[in-house]
Symmetry: C2
Subunit: 476 residues, 2 copies
């Protein structure tokens, strides 16, 4: 990974490559309009230069930068770039791009090229993208990667998705607890190449049970004749392959870790989890969550076909349509009241909308509390009480303002008072629902980030319409 330099100004590199591709396209378009035989030598030379320049740029790119640029290219350019990469570069890039783009690229690549690409991958990386590759490709690859690779692949496959086992690397450097620092340093020098993100070595006993961990730092600063047993950290924090990756990720964040040992149920060392895999995991998960809250089923390639995009968004739109129809039935109940006083129709969306907004503020705070695992039944009671008081306060302030404005505008004081009362009540309901819905979803074992906002808006819309029109029907 370290051979090719990261781009110091990636955005500029991206712009440069776009320009080269643009030029490439122009040359291609010119070529199509002309008979091949009649193309001048100068033009052919120009084309060849352009292609060579593009390939030179790609060769110099860090895999992460190459993946980034592939994500940002529109379909034609992306196909052209992808085709120009050799299998080693393509293998590095396919690991880096996000899931939606990876599926797109794999879908358009011929079988034989996919096999060559898959064969160029490390076992860890192959395991990481194995689910995205067609089964025929994987069976060919399994046949060709040899015994060791196959075993590694099976081991990773054995763990559930979202587990530590899927994220961990099987490249572990272990040290016997009976050795001295000098012996360990000598062994390392013989190995010559060490895995990435190696901040510490794991110490095991004769049966491969994890005993401790010793940092490279202490190897470097401690006198060489010291026993490993004397400098190692005993019983370091370790995870099991079946643990949730999210829990391990929180430990990395909380304790500022670079690597963690992974042990099986009997305490034997089976793998190593490193900060780079965890950062990728956090990025993918938080992105998914952000998109899910906006009603997208999954990450979406910016350049995905229209049909696919429409499908990705349809579930939420259907739910929205359904809840909107049900919520507006509360308006239907009061159609005769509206006919008598049509300004109610104008004002009612305001009551519903401000309720939805305060409720969503509460939901955001509660979801954040769950993300940090800081909510208990005691805090629920406290939060419920507090949020309802905040709702009352906000209701008094903004309800009076809205009611006053509406009352003056329609020159009808009673209308203003009804509006104020409806807003105060709706804000208090919004606060209560905003606390209770995420707690209920969490208790049911569901992710509160995904359904809370829909349910909340459904309640605040319904109640906004019902309270405002109901109070108006009663008092006006």
């Amino acid at each position: 990974m370290q051979q090719r330099r990261p781009a110091t100004d990636l955005h500029q590199t991206y712009i440069d490559i776009l320009a080269l591709l643009e030029h490439h396209r122009t040359l291609e378009a010119l070529a199509e309009n002309q008979d091949r035989s009649r193309r001048g030598v100068a033009r052919q030379l120009q084309e060849r230069q352009n292609t060579a320049e593009l390939q030179r740029r790609f060769r110099g790119l860090h895999p992460a930068d190459l993946g980034f640029i592939l994500e940002g290219l529109e379909p034609d350019d992306r196909v052209r770039t992808w085709a120009a990469l050799d299998s080693r570069q393509a293998a590095e890039a396919i690991v880096e791009v996000d899931g939606a783009v990876r599926t797109w690229l794999i879908g358009g690549t011929p079988h034989h090229r996919l096999i060559r690409i898959a064969e160029s991958l490390d076992p860890d990386d192959l395991a990481w993208i194995a689910d995205d590759l067609p089964e025929e490709v994987m069976s060919d690859v399994r046949a060709s990667i040899g015994e060791v690779g196959r075993t590694l692949l099976q081991q990773a496959d054995a763990y559930p998705p979202q587990s530590v086992g899927r994220l961990m690397s099987l490249e572990v450097v272990t040290v016997r607890d009976t050795r001295t620092i000098a012996e360990v340093l000598h062994d390392l020098q013989v190995r010559a190449e060490l895995p990435d993100h190696l901040d510490r070595l794991f110490v095991v006993d004769g049966r491969n049970l994890l005993r401790g961990a010793v940092s490279l730092q202490s190897l470097v600063v401690t006198s060489p004749d010291t026993a490993i047993d004397a400098v190692m950290e005993r019983d370091p924090l370790a995870f099991r392959p079946t643990d949730l990756a999210a829990n391990a990720a929180r430990a990395f964040e909380r304790y500022d870790l670079v690597s963690l040992p992974v042990v099986n149920d009997r305490g034997k060392l089976v793998g190593r989890l490193t900060v780079d895999a965890v950062v990728d995991f956090i990025r993918v998960t938080s992105e998914k969550e952000a998109l899910a809250m906006a009603g997208l089923r999954g990450a979406e390639d910016m350049f995905a076909p229209v049909w696919e995009s429409a499908r990705n968004r349809s579930l939420w739109l259907f739910v929205n349509l359904l809840t909107a129809f049900v919520a507006t039935r509360f308006i239907g109940l009061f159609e005769s009241t509206i006919q008598e006083l049509v300004s109610l129709a104008t004002l009612m969306p305001i009551v519903a909308s401000i309720g939805g907004n305060t409720g969503n503020q509460t939901v955001a705070l509660v979801i954040r509390g769950f993300a940090f695992e800081q909510l208990s039944d005691a805090t629920r009671r406290h939060l419920l009480r507090k949020e309802m008081v905040v709702g009352l306060l906000n209701g008094l302030v903004w309800g009076s303002l809205a009611g006053l404005t509406a009352g003056l505008f329609y020159r009808r004081l009673a209308l203003g008072i009804v509006m104020m009362a409806a807003i105060i009540l709706n804000l208090m309901i919004a606060a209560a629902v905003g606390v209770l819905v995420p707690f209920a979803l969490h208790r049911m074992g569901r992710d509160p980030a995904q359904g809370s906002s829909v349910l909340l808006t459904f309640v605040t819309d319904s109640m906004g319409f019902f309270l405002f029109l109901g109070l108006a029907w009663f008092y006006l």
Copy 2:
């Protein structure tokens, strides 16, 4: 940091401590109801045991865990716990808790204790929280920390907020380019203690200009008589103290880094940026963004006073009220149409709501593109075209469904057709606005995550009402 073990089950630790505090409270309540002299020896012993057990638990906690637990305690318990910590523990915890809780704790701590806490902090950590401490405390601390600490503090203070200079550590281990590995290893052994997250040493020339970086790994695996110059990575990626912290954070994510050198304009090494500071920065920033999108001005302590919470949420509620009033003016235009056909009032919120939802899906995708710096003018054209086609497609599907349902329900075919047409048009407008608004905000140098959703909902509400009622007025 490594002395105290991270909790293997932090949630359980949290529950245990809550139980101890609960017991503490019960004992206190009993004591208040009794004359001090009449309290039995047994009761007094029980109280002392409880306090001792609490302090024992706190002493065993990792600072990050202590911070976590402080965040999750309600005000009374938090005060009690905070008071029980000695200044060293308090100093470690105050660095770990989030901004809102830190302000709360500092606000309730007497001047002389704050000074002792501040004096227990590393210069790096002191610089990190300096803005939250009262000016009187800081001036007392500046007087007492000595020349070196003062210089460090000034240096960090000199850089703008959100810059690399604010995040970087000034503890740097440098190596002259003229040395051999054996010499460097010897120097390190003399130092005995190295800073955290030291994955590589920075190589400088005689004028302290950054020449390269050498990893601890290569120190360990390379033959000792090799020259540093021969094993070092030349011209490593480096940032300047004035660079945006967000750019450096992206480099850490993209290239899986543990540490980066920070150099001044002349290329002299001035500091070191490590992955732990970057992970904290990413967490704080993404949290702020998520809360801002839900309309909260800043992170909010779950147990903040009601008035403070209400103020934190008021800006957005005011904006919401304002836009809602303006959007509903489009309903006001058609009050006579509604009076004639009151079912329009019932159906119009559906048209507005589904427009807001599709538009927000588009906004979420575009904001994500900006976060990854993958959007250019060429992609804007592509996205605009594509999103509008997706909007048309979704409009045809869901507009027909909604129109059909409404038409059948009110037994009026024309009403259904008007609703379908309004939904199709509103979805296409939502798609266009969903692309253009984040691009416009970005071009104006503003964060598209913060205003896009408000502006979008304003447009889709207004247009939802206007199109539906306007078409109805014209055709029905």
